[in-house]
């Protein structure tokens, strides 16, 4: 692993987008920031700005309007970038699957690298998902 890859693995900056979640997943993501889980020890930072981000965390399923926003955000991220879909809704639509106004899951809108299942997934799972995404990024 060269120095660049090592740095990439150790410094994932995260952009979190809620495409239409029930907020359950979002609260779990925020829980990661708390002292109990402290994602900053892995160098992860919640940057809230696509231009700085490496990892896009998407929660909730897309509808037509949020899909456009998600696409825009993804476009504004510099390469290399990875997308982690968090929660059943983001994976497939979850409990909103049959709704008339949702697109089932986010992978129809942006290419998803890691799927983290759960409703809502535990913070540990989310962190592991990000780690796996980084490994994937470095293998590319």
């Amino acid at each position: 692993m060269n120095i660049l890859q090592k740095s990439r693995a150790k410094s994932p900056w995260i952009l979190h987008y809620d495409a239409g979640a029930c907020n359950g997943c979002d609260i779990e993501i925020l829980a990661c920031l708390t002292p109990v889980y402290d994602i900053e020890r892995f160098g992860m930072v919640n940057v809230g700005n696509p231009k700085h981000a490496d990892v896009l965390l998407v929660t909730g399923t897309c509808n037509k309007r949020s899909a456009r926003v998600l696409k825009n955000l993804y476009d504004q991220m510099p390469d290399p970038k990875v997308v982690v879909a968090v929660g059943a809704c983001a994976l497939s639509g979850g409990i909103f699957h049959e709704c008339y106004n949702v697109l089932q899951g986010v992978d129809g809108t942006v290419p998803v690298d890691v799927y983290v299942p759960g409703c809502a997934p535990r913070p540990e799972a989310i962190m592991e998902g990000v780690m796996m995404a980084l490994e994937k990024m470095n293998k590319r």
Binding site: P50, K51, R68, V69, N72, D75, Q76
Partner: protein
């Protein structure tokens, strides 16, 4: 080469610098053809520039101050007659504009003038009326070069200006007549040593500025011109009172003789006699340099066509005010007057900068910045050390170039976007790349290293350390200066990404030429600040205080400016030329993902019900804190008090 310069007789140079513009002013007022007018203006500009350079070369080579008596006719008599003629004109204007103020001041001036001319005369002139030292040379160079550039720039500007006015008869002949008269009068003023001559030319500039400000003859411009006239006539009263007092005290009415008296004798009683007249002259200088509380005439002057502002603010008019103060500065060194002059100047410096922050009209920002910078120059004159004077002279030079440039560029922008509002200049960088680049250079040269204005400002701060109050005001004032300039540049640079690349801009040749000339001038003069200091500024100062070179070289100059220049130039040029963004790398601004598309050139975003909205941004103006009408009130009161204290201190000082 040096011989060649010496062979040009002095009389011819003087005729070219003073008489030629005056004479051609009358020629041009009857010329109706655009083509001929342009020819005359460009020719005169060339003549002025070349003769001022010859004069400069001559004084540099011979290293001698020039006293010169013009021959042929009795010029003194002519000046006297013309003086009364001027007074008659002022009175006529007062009647025509129905302004009691103008009338009163004109009558007072006439009476005092009559006493000076026909009252008891005590002293013979020790020297002939023409007196040229390095300070005069600096001023002539500025008037003749920067002033001429403004005159050339006016050619296309006035043509365009009149196109929108639907005039039946063009008023350009009058405009250019006044312009040339102005330049001639300025040259005359800085090249004469006889106080009465200086006063005569001084009053001509007052008259010319009235004509130029009222040029458009709208209600507003007439009102503002009237105000400018009476305010400057207050200064005129101060000036002639000073002269009368000098005569009353049986002192020579000759700048160079007065300076000599103080320099050689340094006799306390002479200074004691001179200090009140000097206070009067400084007061005159304050009015002309639009120091608080006289700032309103200069602000009102912005209704005139932009070349007028460029002329008034950079090379003429206001510089006449600071010139007068600097001219006599050594006389009142180490007196209460000197301290008070420094405080009045520093006060204008800080309040001018403060008021500029709240303005969004470009010309108003420039006007306040002029007031502020002139305050700095006057503060330097009041600090009255060799170093401070060197700073003052440097500021005069660099400020003239940069301010002229900024006004001219604002004029070009105004004619293109039909607005002087800085908010409307948003994104100008993409629409008018050349003009906005020149404007940014102009602003940077007013503000930051490695440009001359800043270097002079640092020297000013260094010399202000002996006077703590002034020092604190200068430090705070320079910080405030940064705020409004940066905001302005920020507005111009604020572009939409992908605003279909940068367009090419088609500037008329005379615009592009004059703007580029001054922009290059600002950069090149700063690059060669050391030779300028050594050959132009230091001799002017050394001549004043009898000091050797070291004492007045600001230590800031010992910094490795060349290295600084190189590093900055490199860091600008490298990404400009070797690091081009590809269009696929250009991304729109972050709008929370709601921008219309990642390729859109406008900053539009989607709102409720799939409607679109334009994202707008504007500058902070801190309206609550910088409310102009409130601040102007207390500033005027404090400044008036300061001037009262100045005279009080002079009266008590023995």
């Amino acid at each position: 080469m040096s011989n060649l310069i010496y062979y040009v007789p002095l009389s011819i140079i003087l005729v070219a610098l003073i008489l030629a513009p005056l004479v051609f002013a009358f020629v041009i007022s009857i010329v109706r053809s655009d083509y001929l007018r342009s020819l005359i203006i460009i020719m005169i500009a060339a003549v002025l520039a070349i003769s001022s350079l010859i004069l400069f070369a001559r004084v540099t080579i011979t290293h001698q101050i020039i006293h010169y008596a013009p021959g042929l006719i009795d010029w003194n008599l002519l000046v006297t007659i013309a003086d009364f003629g001027l007074m008659a004109m002022f009175i006529r204007m007062g009647v025509r504009r129905k302004s009691a103020l103008i009338l009163v001041f004109a009558v007072i001036q006439t009476i005092i003038l009559a006493w000076v001319e026909f009252g008891p005369k005590h002293t013979e002139m020790a020297y002939p009326p023409i007196f040229i030292d390095w300070l005069s040379i600096v001023m002539t160079l500025i008037v003749s070069i920067v002033g001429s550039v403004v005159a050339i720039y006016s050619l296309p500007y006035m043509r365009e200006h009149e196109r929108h006015q639907n005039l039946t008869i063009s008023k350009q002949p009058q405009f250019f007549r006044t312009l040339l008269l102005f330049l001639g009068a300025m040259n005359g003023m800085v090249l004469s040593g006889n106080l009465l001559w200086i006063y005569f030319f001084w009053e001509i500039t007052t008259l010319c500025s009235f004509c130029l400000i009222s040029h458009d003859e709208t209600e507003e411009s007439l009102r503002n011109a009237t105000r400018a006239l009476w305010m400057n006539m207050v200064g005129g009263v101060g000036f002639i009172t000073g002269i009368a007092l000098i005569q009353f005290n049986k002192l020579p009415m000759d700048a160079s003789r007065l300076l000599e008296l103080v320099r050689t004798g340094n006799e306390a009683h002479i200074i004691a006699l001179l200090i009140l007249p000097m206070a009067c002259l400084c007061f005159a200088g304050f009015t002309k340099a639009a120091q608080m509380p006289f700032q309103s005439w200069l602000l009102g002057a912005m209704v005139a066509p932009t070349p007028v502002s460029a002329l008034l603010h950079s090379s003429t008019m206001v510089k006449a005010g600071v010139y007068l103060i600097i001219r006599f500065a050594p006389i009142f060194r180490h007196t209460a007057l000197s301290e008070m002059v420094a405080i009045v100047g520093a006060f204008s410096f800080i309040t001018g900068a403060m008021l500029a922050i709240g303005q969004s009209n470009a010309k108003k920002v420039l006007a306040y910045s002029t007031i502020s910078n002139l305050g700095l120059i006057i503060a330097c004159a009041g600090l009255n050390t060799p170093l401070a004077l060197a700073a003052a002279v440097m500021l005069i030079i660099f400020h003239a170039v940069s301010k002229g440039l900024l006004f001219m560029a604002t004029g070009v922008v105004d004619q293109s976007i039909h607005s002087k509002d800085i908010e409307d200049m948003q994104g100008l960088w993409a629409r008018m790349p050349l003009t906005s680049l020149i404007m940014v250079i102009g602003i940077l040269s007013m503000l930051l290293p490695p440009f001359g204005v800043l270097i002079a400002k640092l020297a000013a701060i260094e010399s202000s350390i002996q006077n703590p109050l002034v020092m604190v005001m200068l430090v705070i004032g320079s910080t405030l200066t940064v705020v409004f300039w940066t905001k302005w540049m920020g507005r111009m640079l604020a572009t939409n990404p992908q605003a279909d690349g940068r367009k090419r801009e088609n500037l008329p040749a005379l615009y592009a030429g004059t703007l580029a000339f001054l922009a290059c001038g600002a950069v090149i003069l700063s690059l060669f600040i050391k030779p300028i200091l050594e050959n132009l500024v230091l001799p002017a100062v050394a001549n004043y205080y009898n000091v050797a070179g070291m004492e007045m070289t600001p230590t800031v100059l010992s910094a490795p400016w060349l290295m600084i220049f190189l590093v900055i130039a490199l860091s600008v040029l490298a990404p400009t030329f070797f690091n081009h963004l590809r269009s696929s790398q250009i991304k729109p601004a972050y709008l929370c993902g709601e921008q219309i598309s990642s390729r859109a050139a406008t900053a539009q975003f989607l709102t409720v019900a799939d409607g679109t909205a334009e994202m707008t941004v504007r500058s902070y103006y801190f309206e609550k804190v910088t409310d102009e009408s409130f601040h102007v009130k207390w500033v005027t009161i404090v400044a008036t008090l300061l001037i009262v204290i100045l005279f009080g201190a002079v009266y008590l000082w023995k």
